[in-house]
């Protein structure tokens, strides 16, 4: 139980007194998540929803064991918050903050590779183990315990798919939003490995997007190692080429970053690919029924 990285026991919230931090601390606790403390630079000694506020993570660690931190600190101060969490050797860091400058994340990445911390995000909706805990901002009411592992680059698309899986009665074992930012922590392959080796996961849903190659790397992993069924969708079929991509991207393999290319590559790796997000749950349902 303790070895399960996605279901940490003692959790803190960095930026707990901000409006998003306070609102979602309450929601996480309502879902049964064990929030032991939070940080806020100027409000140490206060309480948010009965959770004690400290000035720094080091201060918290004098009183509590910390297994994971959820970061709600605004983008302007997110680099400092991420550095603080890495310096405090927090095993799992989940960064919800959206809009962190890319150069700040390059600095965080460089620091992260020299540490033992694992980062999910930034711009991540967080992770959930339905029925047990939730770290981040995934709406409580859409989560239902089940045996499907969901990994997604997009927050809101995750909700879309999770809500549909729950409505269908399938439910989810884990929901992991890896975040849509270009420079980030865990990627698809890291999560697929976890789902593949976890006996409580029967099938996998992966939701990708245009841009970058991580879905193509995932396809390589799946064709080599995955024995569990995978259902996928890539958002952005109607996106114009090159809009969000830089000039070098346009030269080097922009075709490989398109929704069409990724879809075909995942299909060849054995993934059941859907052309609309609404087709995912029926596809999973069919696979689970055929398995019986």
């Amino acid at each position: 139980m303790h070895s399960n990285i996605f279901t940490p026991e003692n959790i803190i919230v960095q930026g707990i007194t901000g409006s998003h931090g306070a609102f979602h601390t309450q929601a996480m606790r309502a879902y049964g998540t064990n929030i032991v403390a939070g940080t806020s630079p100027n409000k140490a000694g206060q309480y948010i929803d009965n959770v004690p506020v400290y000035k720094t993570i080091r201060d918290i660690q004098r009183d509590h064991t910390v297994d994971a931190s959820v970061i709600f600190v605004p983008a302007t101060h997110a680099r400092a918050a991420l550095f603080e969490a890495i310096d405090a050797e927090i095993p799992l860091i989940i960064c919800v903050t959206e809009g962190i400058p890319v150069h700040d994340m390059l600095a965080v990445r460089a620091k992260l590779t020299k540490s033992n911390s694992r980062l999910i995000g930034p711009n991540s909706p967080g992770i959930a183990t339905p029925g047990q805990s939730k770290l981040g901002i995934i709406p409580n009411q859409i989560l239902t315990p089940g045996r499907i592992g969901v990994v997604s680059r997009s927050g809101t698309l995750t909700y879309e798919v999770v809500a549909a899986l729950s409505r269908s009665g399938l439910g989810e074992r884990y929901v992991i939003g890896i975040g849509g930012d270009p420079i980030k922590g865990l990627d698809f392959v890291d999560c697929l490995k976890k789902f593949q080796s976890d006996e409580t996961v029967d099938a996998i849903v992966m939701i990708g997007e245009i841009g970058g190659q991580s879905e193509n790397k995932a396809a390589d992993y799946i064709s080599e190692y995955a024995t569990k069924p995978v259902v996928g969708y890539i958002a952005g079929h109607s996106a114009p080429a090159g809009v969000q991509l830089g000039h070098a991207g346009a030269i080097l393999g922009s075709e490989q970053e398109s929704a069409g290319y990724k879809t075909t590559k995942l299909q060849r790796a054995g993934v059941t690919m859907c052309d609309s997000v609404t087709h995912i749950t029926p596809a999973v349902k069919k696979i689970m029924e055929d398995k019986k």
């Binding site: 998003h20 979602h24 983008a75 959206e98 809009g99 962190i100 400058p101 890319v102 150069h103 390059l106 990445r109 460089a110 711009n123 909706p125 901002i137 995934i138 709406p139 859409i142 997604s152 680059r153 997009s154 927050g155 809101t156 698309l157 995750t158 909700y159 879309e160 809500a163 849509g180 270009p182 420079i183 980030k184 939701i207 997007e209 245009i210 841009g211 970058g212 190659q213 991580s214 969708y233 958002a235 952005g236 079929h237 109607s238 996106a239 114009p240 809009v243 969000q244 830089g246 000039h247 070098a248 991207g249 346009a250 030269i251 080097l252 393999g253 052309d275 609309s276 997000v277 609404t278």
Partner: protein, 356 residues
């Protein structure tokens, strides 16, 4: 956001990178020049200026007066010159392509170079480029390998200094992309940035109070897809916004835009989005697809009511709301006559039907 050439070159110069002597011409009447011969370059946010008459060489004042209005009026893929940059001609010995981009697959900055810079760089085979991930080796080592690849062994130190200056320039200015094409090796052995493309990180605007460029930040979350599109979209989260556009297109309609209102969008920011969409001439409907996490449905609901109050020509709204504070949103919209669809499929399906 993208910079105009002259804006990018100012930042280059501030980082110690050589650029040609130049003068900015702000209008066709502003035709006093001290440099001849000069190359006139249309300042537009697109490439291929040369192909559409956006680049002209003039040798005399008379030629300048005749040519300048043409450069200003040249239609370059739908763009017209914001201003014209007049530059001295550099004495070219070799033209090199250099590109530094934040690369998501490497999670680092990647350097690309080619020994034959110029306009046809995109048709060069991938294998012909010099490519190196920055940060793995000392920059001096990269410069040495690059000098050998370019056949410019005598420029090793100058290239090393240039690379360091370019990286500093990216860092100081929060640049995601910095491309010099061509980087000119002059007859007397100097390295001069003859053209420059630069793209800055909108997310870093908070620490650059001095940013005042022609292109404005905020454009990343709003992309025009079809000027004459009939269905506009408003969604939250890039993925859901893309999926919404995908669904509109899959249903046989022409989507006008991609719009991600972003996490934590509020009534005012969503209302501003509605106003923006009213610029599309053939709009027949707006699909709103919000799955709220950090966003709150009640804020969206208030924005919808405000938009209906404020914008008289607002087309029918096909709304799908779900997630945080959905119950409050339902009660806010209870008297609006709007159907709140349970899924994206239903919302798109209701366009042209009776269920709007």
């Amino acid at each position: 956001m993208k910079l105009l050439e002259y804006e990018a070159k100012k930042l280059l110069a501030a980082s110690g990178i050589s650029t040609p002597k130049s003068q900015l011409i702000t209008g066709p009447e502003d035709d006093f020049l001290s440099i001849f011969p000069t190359i006139l370059k249309s300042q537009v946010l697109t490439g291929r200026r040369n192909k559409y008459g956006g680049i002209q060489i003039v040798k005399t004042q008379a030629e300048l007066e005749q040519t300048l209005p043409k450069v200003f009026s040249a239609d370059i893929e739908g763009y017209q010159a914001v201003s014209v940059l007049a530059e001295e001609l550099v004495d070219i010995d070799q033209e090199i392509y250099l590109n530094l981009t934040v690369n998501r697959d490497e999670q680092a900055i990647v350097l690309l170079a080619h020994k034959d810079g110029g306009v046809d760089i995109e048709s060069q085979p991938v294998e012909a480029f010099f490519r190196e991930v920055i940060g793995v080796r000392p920059i001096e080592a990269t410069a040495l390998t690059l000098a050998e690849y370019l056949g410019l062994e005598d420029q090793e130190f100058a290239l090393g200094e240039l690379l360091q200056n370019l990286l500093n320039c990216m860092h100081t200015n929060d640049a995601l992309l910095l491309e010099i094409n061509p980087l000119v090796v002059t007859a007397d052995g100097k390295l001069v940035a003859a053209d420059c493309k630069m793209e800055l990180d909108n997310a870093a605007a908070f620490r650059h109070a001095d940013w005042d460029f022609y292109d404005k930040p905020m454009s990343a979350n709003f992309v025009e897809l079809h000027r004459n599109g009939t269905i506009a979209t408003i969604a939250n989260g890039a993925g859901l916004a893309m999926a919404t556009v995908d669904a509109v297109q899959a249903a046989g309609y022409t989507p006008a835009n991609f719009l991600d209102v972003g996490g934590g969008a509020n009534k005012e920011s969503i209302l501003a989005s509605f106003r923006k969409l009213m610029n599309y001439p053939r709009l027949e409907a707006i699909v709103i697809n919000i799955f709220a996490g950090i966003t709150r449905c009640d804020e969206v609901a208030r924005a919808i009511l405000a938009a209906r109050d404020e914008i008289s020509s607002l087309p029918p709204l096909h709304v799908r709301l779900e997630g945080t504070n959905i119950d409050e949103a339902r009660s806010i919209l209870s008297k609006s006559g709007l159907t709140l669809h349970a899924s994206l499929e239903n919302a798109v399906g209701s366009i042209g039907g009776n269920n709007a």
